[in-house]
């Protein structure tokens, strides 16, 4: 039972990592850039939700606030693209990496100014109940996280495989110029994917905030989500979820069975091992470069 409990709580954590990793992968798949600010976007989404729901701010109904928050974050993602990232169109990956790191700093600063640096709790109906199943205790939030994550991964995966927009996004990332020639409005597609990434970040943020307290530094779980995305092989949506689950499950087991001090390095050590031995992740998409 002990093992099962660890497994389930790891699963719920892993789903949050997976959701943030989904955001990375979305943007990577569609624009070939890596958004280092995704974790901070998640934090911002959670704080937007706090601002809408908590009584000391606006005090809206939770279920009314969810679509509002998603809308706000989607709009913000689109605005970020128009205002900043569109200028980087066609520039090298590394320039975008550095830009998004800076963006993360700014987001953290702005959130700190608006909501303060004290940890806060989201007044979420998900945070209340526990469910007992044969000696295993699961909170409602954990169940919600797992269900929503699975649904989102499946939905986004199908979106990329089946819909016209999803295919256009993939084409735009593979070869921008060729995509132009095929009549794809590459820049607008890029804006759309940033909006989508904002929405995904907001979902992840709401779920994260439902599971516990929320602080400005929450964005740093983006680093664990990196591990998730890399393990899954950047560019694969189910891979991102798998990676998230692997990282999430390793954490509680490492904390349980490794001596103190060694446990928290487990996800990063795994990340380094994967990068060394399978540099393009477990679900590799890269082939050798030909001249």
């Amino acid at each position: 039972m002990d093992v099962l409990q660890l497994l389930l709580s790891g699963l719920a954590n892993g789903c949050v990592y997976g959701l943030v990793a989904l955001g990375f992968v979305l943007i990577y798949k569609a624009t070939e850039a890596v958004n280092f600010a995704q974790g901070d976007l998640m934090m911002l989404g959670a704080f937007v939700m706090v601002g809408l729901v908590n009584p000391q701010y606006m005090g809206l109904n939770f279920w009314l606030a969810v679509p509002l928050a998603l809308l706000i974050m989607g709009a913000l993602g689109y605005l970020l693209d128009i205002a900043i990232l569109r200028f980087m169109f066609g520039q090298s990956q590394t320039a975008v990496v550095i830009l998004t790191i800076a963006l993360g700093f700014v987001i953290r600063f702005v959130a700190g100014v608006i909501w303060g640096h004290e940890p806060q709790n989201l007044h979420s109906p998900l945070a209340l109940g526990d469910v007992r199943m044969g000696g295993v205790v699961l909170s409602m939030a954990d169940i919600a996280v797992i269900v929503v994550t699975l649904a989102m991964t499946l939905g986004l995966w199908q979106f990329f495989q089946r819909t016209k927009l999803g295919l256009a996004m993939q084409a735009a990332s593979q070869n921008q110029m060729a995509a132009y020639y095929m009549g794809i409005p590459v820049k607008r597609v890029q804006g759309a994917v940033w909006a989508l990434a904002g929405v995904v970040a907001c979902v992840a943020g709401i779920l994260y905030a439902s599971k516990g307290t929320l602080a400005i530094s929450a964005g740093f779980i983006g680093i664990k989500a990196f591990a998730a995305a890399v393990i899954g092989g950047f560019g694969s949506l189910p891979g991102a979820l798998m990676g998230g689950l692997i990282v999430g499950i390793i954490e509680p087991f490492a904390a349980r069975y490794f001596p103190a001090g060694y446990s928290q390095i487990a996800p990063y050590a795994l990340l380094i091992l994967v990068l060394v031995f399978r540099p393009h992740g477990l679900f590799a998409q890269v082939r050798v470069k030909k001249v």
């Binding site: 070939e32 890596v34 900043i84 200028f87 980087m88 066609g90 520039q91 090298s92 990956q93 590394t94 320039a95 990496v97 550095i98 830009l99 790191i101 800076a102 963006l103 993360g104 700093f105 700014v106 953290r108 600063f109 702005v110 700190g112 100014v113 640096h117 990332s173 593979q174 070869n175 921008q176 110029m177 132009y180 400005i216 680093i223 990196f226 591990a227 890399v230 950047f234 560019g235 001090g261 060694y262 928290q264 390095i265 990063y268 050590a269 990340l271 380094i272 990068l275 060394v276 540099p279 393009h280 998409q285 890269v286 082939r287 470069k289 030909k290 001249v291």
Partner: protein, 359 residues
């Protein structure tokens, strides 16, 4: 505008293209040497800080600016430099030997770490190094017999040839130590760029495939770049740790390496001057902000520093990707060519991205 009439191949690789250029740098050196008599001890300390950041920045510049590999993990190597320096000193080595050995040690470790990292490109390398710098924090705690764990170290007394280097009693000694290190590293760096190795760094940066076709051993070049870069970062880290007076596992967290990367980008990627200009920005920005908030009469805003830093960086990447030094180069060209300089001379080439996954 001056023209250099080249009569031998050596003219292309001279340290200074002409006497005018040489005298400019000589004058700058004289000003720097005379600085302790000009400014008070507070600003002297700040200048020392600038020089220390510049040493570490030169390390990252060698990797990112010259060889084109982004590292978000240089704080790990700075920590390694600081800890190994103190450890060598505790073994009884004199400071100067311990300091240089710390650089060599960090460089060797960096070179070893580079071997698996060589297979990684762009973003993957960035994530790999980011993971390294986060791991370093925990590693320092785990290796507490050598690192003092969370308690860290207090900087030991530093003696060089019978002169005590003390930050509080004699700030000018620290200043000269930092200045000497910065000069040494700059000179080494400049000479490196003139050597075949430096040329192969640039070749790898501009195109790995072309470099390989030209006979450059890409793996060896990258390893050497990583190792040398880590060695410089180690020297910078050793100075930073000792200058701070005390350091522990949290002193060199991964934000330091991100700040370092930001510094060299704001300064100007690929230029030695850029490392120094970036160091000036990063060292003086906190002072500047605190003065401004004091003037406005408001209380200090937590996180203001990093927020403003991020905004400055975004502005630079969008509007001046060549950094401060690039802006100066543009201004100089405009003056030299006056009135023939044209706006389009420095326009960014329009480019389209192709995937790196499905080539």
């Amino acid at each position: 505008m001056r023209f250099h009439f080249k009569t031998s191949y050596d003219h292309d690789i001279r340290l200074f293209p002409d006497w005018w250029n040489f005298s400019l740098y000589a004058a700058l050196l004289l000003v720097l040497l005379a600085l302790p008599w000009v400014i008070d001890s507070f600003y002297l300390g700040e200048m020392t800080n600038v020089l220390i950041w510049a040493v570490a920045g030169l390390g990252l510049m060698l990797l990112t600016g010259q060889t084109g590999q982004v590292s978000l993990g240089h704080s790990a190597f700075m920590a390694m430099g600081a800890y190994s320096c103190v450890n060598f000193m505790e073994l009884g080595l004199p400071f100067l030997a311990a300091f240089l050995l710390a650089g060599v040690f960090t460089g060797i470790i960096g070179g070893i770490i580079a071997i698996p990292a060589l297979r990684l490109h762009g973003v993957y390398l960035a994530i790999f190094t980011l993971a390294l710098s986060i791991l370093m924090d925990d590693l320092i705690v785990i290796l507490s017999p050598w690192t003092g764990g969370v308690n860290g170290y207090f900087a030991p007394e530093i003696w060089i040839f019978g002169i005590e280097i003390n930050r509080w009693a004699a700030p000018e000694t620290w200043y000269y130590l930092a200045l000497g290190t910065a000069l040494m590293v700059t000179f080494f760096y400049r000479n490196l760029l003139r050597s075949p190795l430096g040329r192969s760094f640039a070749a790898v940066r501009d195109s790995e495939i072309s470099a390989q076709a030209m006979g450059v051993d890409v793996a060896r070049t990258k390893t050497l770049a990583f190792g040398l870069s880590c060695a410089f970062a180690g020297l910078g880290g050793a100075l930073m740790g000792l200058f701070a007076g005390a350091f522990n596992n949290e002193t060199f967290n991964f934000l330091i390496s991100i700040q370092l990367l930001m510094a060299i980008i704001i300064g100007g990627l690929g230029f030695i001057h850029g490392a120094f200009l970036g160091a000036i920005v990063i060292a003086f920005l906190p002072q500047f902000l605190s003065i401004v908030t004091d003037q406005l009469g408001s209380t200090s805003i937590p996180g203001l520093e990093t927020g403003v830093f991020g905004m400055i960086l975004i502005a630079f990447i969008l509007f001046e990707p060549m950094g401060l030094y690039g802006r100066w180069l543009k201004m100089r060209t405009w003056l030299q060519l006056f009135p023939f300089a044209r706006r389009d001379m420095f326009r960014r080439q329009k480019s389209y991205l192709k995937t790196e996954r499905l080539r």
